[in-house]
């Protein structure tokens, strides 16, 4: 088995996404299940508000849980692809020695542990936070909602995702390992599309810029997603105001910051690691640190800003939806308008944080030497 503990640590990003998904789903679904049982004791006066509370808990858990699980699947597949690419030599040698694809792919089930760790912690924290969340959601006049432990939630939020993700990891690794042995041993060099589109007539730096961008399309998604999380969840957390409790706003804000940080670090690290050879050669030939930085990382920055813009629009649309659809029948629901000051504050913090992150990696890029490439061979 060539998957080490160190490799497991690289999946921390997947675990964090699972943690967030399990955390939100645990308390929102618990609330939904507990509040549903109160249907018969709610008076007519509060029935519209009660229905809105039920709809909101279902809406938030399905939307948040669904989106986060989807992201976790994409991240897991991305990591497995990255892992197979970076360990193709070892995997090729093992295949040459007689290990079957099924046996090698079985090792990738360990990637399902990332789901187990994230979901278990998320479930535990979500359940611990449930009394505080319930308290914050209590409305005067409505019956108090008692916290109940739901075993089916444990099954659905921890056991099922772990088994499902181990299966996905196995299946995807099995497909990836179907590459001929020699192609695995030769590594990614052998996978360059030889009959692809011809290079356009452009200078070297522009060519590297576009080739890096086109060869890492999935990373453009993660760059955008990271900024999306930051923009949508920070703005939502700060501008929900009267629409929800303070504690919910804080939870959304913290989850947004964690998701944004994890995906941003994961994206930039993967991008830098995939371009060590290009950067070191450019350094050897005398390209400046600025030229190296922009040819490798520069193309991804616009995607971060696109993600930020979509995030701002998304949170506005979502809160409008809550006000106009979920709480449509409830009297005295506060009006919601796009919060311009919050938008500009979030944008300012985003620009500063992103600049700091890129400066950090620019420093890392400047320290890469040709020796690192030589040692790889």
């Amino acid at each position: 088995m060539i998957i080490s503990v160190k490799d497991g640590f690289k999946l921390i990003g997947v675990s964090v996404v699972f943690f967030c998904a399990a955390f939100v789903c645990t308390f929102m679904l618990s609330y939904y299940m507990d509040v549903v049982s109160l249907k018969d004791v709610v008076s007519d006066q509060f029935s519209a508000l009660y229905d809105a509370q039920v709809a909101m808990s279902k809406f938030v858990s399905v939307l948040t849980g669904g989106v986060l699980v989807l992201i976790a699947v994409i991240m897991l597949v991305f990591y497995i692809k990255l892992y197979v690419d970076s360990h193709s030599k070892q995997l090729g040698v093992l295949k040459a020695l007689g290990f079957s694809n099924a046996k090698l792919a079985a090792g990738f089930c360990a990637f399902g542990l990332s789901a187990l760790v994230g979901c278990s912690l998320g479930f535990a924290c979500g359940y611990s936070a449930t009394p505080f969340i319930y308290e914050s959601m209590t409305i005067e006049g409505m019956p108090e909602v008692a916290v109940t432990f739901h075993y089916e939630l444990l099954l659905g939020i921890v056991v099922a995702p772990t088994a499902l993700f181990a299966g996905i990891a196995y299946g995807f690794a099995y497909l990836k390992l179907k590459i001929p042995v020699m192609h695995l041993i030769k590594g990614k060099e052998s996978k360059i599309r030889l009959s692809g589109r011809e290079d356009k007539e452009r200078d070297f730096l522009t060519e590297v810029f576009f080739k890096t961008l086109s060869s890492k399309k999935l990373l453009t998604f993660f760059f955008a997603f990271s900024a999306f999380c930051f923009s949508a969840m920070v703005q939502m957390g700060l501008s929900m105001g009267d629409l929800s409790s303070e504690i919910m706003g804080t939870v959304i804000l913290v989850i947004g910051l964690v998701l944004a940080a994890v995906t941003a670090f994961m994206s930039v690290t993967s991008l830098v690691n995939a371009n060590v050879k290009t950067v070191s050669l450019m350094k050897t030939f005398g390209y400046t640190a600025r030229e190296r930085f922009f040819s490798v990382l520069g193309g991804f920055i616009p995607f971060a800003f696109i993600g930020f813009g979509i995030g701002a629009a998304y949170q506005y649309g979502l809160l409008q939806l809550m006000v106009n659809v979920v709480f449509a029948d409830v009297a005295e629901v506060p009006a919601y308008e796009f919060d311009m000051p919050v938008f500009f504050i979030t944008l300012g913090v985003f620009v500063i944080s992103y600049a700091a992150l890129l400066a950090l990696y620019s420093l890392k890029l400047s320290k890469i030497s040709v020796k690192e490439v030589m040692l790889e061979n």
Binding site: L281, F285, Y287, V373
Partner: protein, 226 residues
Amino acid sequence: MLKCKDIIKSYNGHRVLNGVSLDISKGEFVVILGASGSGKSTLLSVLSGLERADGGAVECGGANLSELNDSQLTAFRRDKIGFIFQQYYLLSHLSVQNNVKMGADLVGNKDYVKIIEAVGLGDKLKSRPPQLSGGEQQRVCIARALAKNPEILFLDEPTGALDEKTGREVLDYIIKFKAERGITVIMVTHNENIAETAETVVRMNSGKIVETRKNAKPKTAYEIGW
């Protein structure tokens, strides 16, 4: 042209270069010979400004490399140096033409296609490195290095990964370009026969120069044994 004095370099407490001094003239062809671990590749890295020495001085065209900051060292490599590696280190996702542009664009050389043609790859401009043989890939490396019009060409075992026929061809190209352009060539190798093509042979052992000799009549790539 290039002078170093009492160079010391260590890795993890192990001294790899132990007081190396060398004086190389403009247009000279120097071969640095030595067994694996003798310090020859490290010396090449220090002489070319890829790495800094822990002690001693490297002078090139009046500049002391150990006194230059990172940007100045980058500018030094940009303006003066060309590199050819044993493992080629071509960018496999770029065409031959774009790999050569990596060197050419640095100095605004628009005639880089002529260099590709000169190494016999005029019909492979759009090919990618994985489509080429080892010898062809090494010729792309030569074109890439020459396209930036270097004053000094550093070569680290350029024929080490090639068979005899291809190795001789590559060596012949290097000797030919050296004569045509008058560039200084510093080549590291463990192949004693290749040393016969050089004007000066420097032999290293355990981080020290143990012998320096001149070849009165350097041989061609096709006159030496292999």
